[in-house]
Every structure is written in C-alpha cells, then in structure tokens.
Symmetry: C2
Subunit: 223 residues, 2 copies
Amino acid sequence: MSVRTIHVQGNVMARNDEYADRIRRRLRDAGVIAFNLISSPGSGKTTLLERTLDRLDAEFPIAVVTGDVQTENDARRLERHTGRLVQAVVTDGGCHLDARQIHDAVGALDLRETRLLFVENVGNLVCPATWDLGEAAKIVVLSVTEGEDKPLKYPTAFRRARYAVFNKIDLLPHLDYDLDMAVRYARQINPEIETFFVSAQTGEGMDAWYRFLRSRVSGREAA
Amino acid sequence: MSVRTIHVQGNVMARNDEYADRIRRRLRDAGVIAFNLISSPGSGKTTLLERTLDRLDAEFPIAVVTGDVQTENDARRLERHTGRLVQAVVTDGGCHLDARQIHDAVGALDLRETRLLFVENVGNLVCPATWDLGEAAKIVVLSVTEGEDKPLKYPTAFRRARYAVFNKIDLLPHLDYDLDMAVRYARQINPEIETFFVSAQTGEGMDAWYRFLRSRVSGREAA
C-alpha cells in the first residue's frame, strides 16, 4: 500500500521540482524574492500579510499568491490592501500548493513590477512542508495559542523553514504558554532557524519583520 | 498527474473502508462508542481529552488512540489522566490516521473494559476528513483563536463531522471573533451539525459536553 503511494509520490515530486527550478530561475532573473508561508489553519498568515501590504506595498511592489482548499476568502481579504493582482489557487481538496500551480500563477504576474512575492500556502503543517515551490525560503508561522511542542510534532515544517514567525503575542498574558520552550523546541529541530515575535493584530514586534523584508528586497542580506 | 494519484488513492480508500467496517462491527459487538476528533494543530484536542478523562474515566472506562506525525507527546500527556493504556500511532510524516492503524490499535485494547473510545487524529483539517476510521461520528474541534471562516475553507471536515466543539471560549473577550458568524458558517456547510462551546482550560461549558458523552455511552441517544 505505502510502497505504491511512495512510488507515485516520487514521480509527482520529480515533476514538481522541475517546475520549482523553472520558477526559481524566472524569479532570480527578475530580481524577485519569494517566501512560502506555511502554518496551521488560523495562525494568522492572512492578517500578517494584510499588515505587511499596508506598510510595505508603497515602498516596493509585493505580489501574493494564496492557496486554499476551498474559497477565495484570503485573496479577497488581501486585495483590499493592495492595488495589485492577488492570485488565488483553490486546490479543491488538495492539502498543499504544488509548483505547477505556482508556475501558472507566476506566469500571470508582471514580474518587472514585483520585488517580493508571498505564497500563502494551504493551512496545514504537514503536506506543504515537503513541496518546493521555487521560493527563496519557507517561513513557518505559529500562533502562541497552539501548544509549545508544535516544532516537535511537525518537525519537517520546522526543518525546511529558514524563518519562524511566532504570532498573536498580544495574547500571551492570557495564555499558559512558555515561549522560551517553544523556541527551544524549534531550535532543537532546526538550530539555524531565525525567529520573529509579532502580533499582526496589534502591530507589536512587526518592525523587526519589516526590517527583515526590506533588507531581503534590497539585497543587503544574502539570499 | 492527478489522475494517477486519484487512482491509487481509490484503491487505498477501498482497503481503508474494509478495515473501517471491521472496526465498526467489533466496536458495535462490544458496545463501544467511538469518536474521531479532527482539528487543526493547537485547537486543544489533547486538553479537551485530559479534562474529559479526569471527569468521566471513573464513571465508565475510556480508551484513547492518539495520532501524531511525530512524537508521542499527546499520549504521554493523556496517560497521566487515566489508568488505562493509551495507544500512540506515529504516522512518521503521514497527515492522517488510517483504519488499518486503528484496527491494530483497537486489537491491543480490552474492549470488554471499554465503553468509549476517542481517536485523536493528526492535527490537520484536510487529510483526516475523508478517512473513515470505523467511528460512530467525527467531531471537529475548533479554537476561537482561528478565523471564523474555517468551516468555509475546510468544508469537507465540517460536512463529515456530526459535532463541532468550539474551544478556548475563555479567550473570547480578548479576541475579535464573531462566534455567531462561525456557527452560521458551520451550519451553512452542514445544517445538521451539533455544537458545543467550551473552554477545556477553565472548564466553562464542559458540563454540556459531559452530558452528551454520558448519554451516548448509556445509549439514551440513538447512535
């Protein structure tokens, strides 16, 4: 049973990686930095992007591709925060975005008018972790309302991500959540992971996030 | 690409459903009610079960099978709340439990000493929704820290679930969350869905949940 699944998965993955390489080349040639946001449902990816568009879209053009199992709700929320096209990929039951879908979505973007591309993946900590979408880096977004042991329970996502954004820190006073322990767990899985601590709702901690994005776009930090 | 995947998935599903039917027969013969808990990571399934074991395990014997991609953390947390065996299934990357795994886990239980079985599925709102584990009903657990539109974005989970537990209601005063709207969305997807509103942390609203479980175990409510 599992052998058969793995075999097909292997073929699908090889095709995915071909598309991912194509995307990566196109983005590099156009000077676009792409981040693939991965999280469980409800961690606040869309709110993080809304705030980020509000703050940075006037500084440099940002494109967004959203992935959802069903509905275009996230894309509709985001289009209110940018004059640019927001691409919605509805996977119709699929638990992750694949590079073919991103390839098509990127094809509809004017890359000369784009410096930063966010891919908001399907809300899921398992499936999206292993799929290369041609991004510069994966970013895992966590809500501090989840348990501290999420990095241990979903290690692939944390191993493949270069950055972790701990969101909803405004709720910490009302929670029994040990942030230091959560960070320790994340580093246990991925010692190189870089962390941000924000409330996309209140804006707390967002300046460090904006500084990071500005430095990546301006190329002051190595890709 | 997708056709091939669907084909294999079909075979796997057919085999799964055979196992699910076997489980369902065994549980029915033994007079055990089984619930399959589905949610995103961090919605509080484990805390809900901890509280439930603390309150009800002395009234009737409850067995638990936990599913996790990695670690046995949930099972270890739960074993402190019951004298009975807690089965941990580590899917090693798999994004849901399947009936074969539950069949093996149930085989190790003394069903004569069990009245209620909880299956705590992998934290994921997509994959587990379509897999029949031989349960009497699926229960979707939501945290009110997630967005109200989760039912629309993950419709399969809400369509297949007979019950929805809205958890962490103690945080409502600190959140910009419209509970009525979330319930409306859930009913839009599944008009028959029955709802509970609880804080597994503070105990608020748990009495209705306990009453429901007692009535199911005593057979006062139809399966």
